[in-house]
Symmetry: D2
């Protein structure tokens, strides 16, 4: 949860709108619990793209990728077929080789699922490496 | 494939743009073959929505849903991570209880995958029923 | 985390073997992070089945289902295509309406991913209800 | 479709049993139509493995993989949560660079979905190449 200090000087939030389709739901009539992690990953990809980066370019030019090291999810309310939802992403920590974010999946004003993720920058051998300088700059300046 | 007559008076095409994310790809580095069917279903859902219908409303008001009876796919070219693609859907037949469509998944001018689907309108017991009149009208007029 | 008492008299562990297929992997060449949650859910389903319960029967006879309320995952080592893996599940807490478990996804002696899940028993309206007595008995006796 | 000659000397059928989990179903309460293609791919992988081949070894030793070129599905009856199903695979054609199979997804004696697939052997550049001799031999002898 962001501290009071963080709320006072908030990290800009990235908003990713998406729709719930049949593929996302299960026989309980609601979105299957693993699929919220898919939505969150789409949102992180679009947050990178909005700052000028994409996965193929990161691989081709820097030989790096972001791997999820840890993830936690609190499922508060279920999402349903046809729902128009958003992933609201706040980067909460940018280290030399790791990146942390809170990602809320919301329907209008309600938070349905709260996710926290920790990502590591890895090279093609899967070893942790420093985040490329251009990405660090983009996430630290927060224009 | 649409007949010459149909090409002369073409059914308007619905275009659904989408992005390829990690979840869609596999260890061969390309989109997993089953996932094109997900893209096609998203597109059919949005084509319905563009004409004023959604699955929850169809279930609540008419007690019906569309079930895929048959589907074929020709995989011509692979899609890759980060690709910006489209599903181009042409409804090729509207019967009393069935609906057929051609769905091409395209990247710029190239067709990557050609799908043909036949859908049946079913009630909550899974039995075939007539397509609600409002949907028939929407797909037969083709404004 | 199991208490010392529980370690002294350990809850029997349920072992669910499975294989990694193309559908589970992504373009990074490893298992996509959300898919470990699918493996864990399969294992919980088989753990229930091994004690005589399945989802359809729980719904039909008791009108209940288990919903995931919280889940956390630590990704330690990647799984790859063709890997033969196991989900090792230990129920760590059985409350009146909730059930907690640790689930390790392992390859031979290595833990690849550590999951913790908290499940709630819910009725068809999605409200928390007591776990059916037969299930409670099955998980508390631990023969 | 198998020719009369092939029926007279039938290709042995590979049977792959599996279970339907929540992940496979959708809000209509039945298995989502794209997921039958996942089941079929698991079965093809296990059919290869039963004859001594796996994807990683094929990539490492021969630099080849099998890509689906075409696939058709007839959905006859729905599968449901907890169903114990089988994929029954018959290789119907083995060419120099392609392989065709019929794959029925069955529940007891009922065929739920009939699939036909055409696979191409491709190299790492995605170009069609001859199927490795050991695989050809394994599928042509049919012991």
């Amino acid at each position: 949860m962001p501290s009071a200090a963080k709320i006072a000087k908030p990290v800009p939030e990235h908003v990713f709108p998406f729709r719930v389709y049949y593929e996302d739901t299960d026989a309980a009539g609601i979105v299957y619990y693993a699929n919220y992690l898919k939505f969150a990953e789409r949102a992180r990809t679009e947050m990178l793209r909005a700052r000028g980066f994409d996965h193929r370019q990161l691989d081709a030019e820097d030989g790096v990728a972001f791997a999820v090291r840890a993830c936690s999810a609190d499922y508060l309310l279920p999402a349903r077929l046809d729902d128009a939802l958003e992933v609201r992403t706040r980067v909460t920590h940018v280290g030399g080789a790791t990146l942390e974010a809170d990602q809320d999946i919301t329907r209008e004003d309600a938070v349905l699922t709260r996710l926290k993720v920790r990502l590591a920058c890895i090279n093609r051998a899967g070893r942790p490496v420093r985040i490329p300088a251009a990405i660090l700059a983009a996430f630290r300046s927060n224009p």
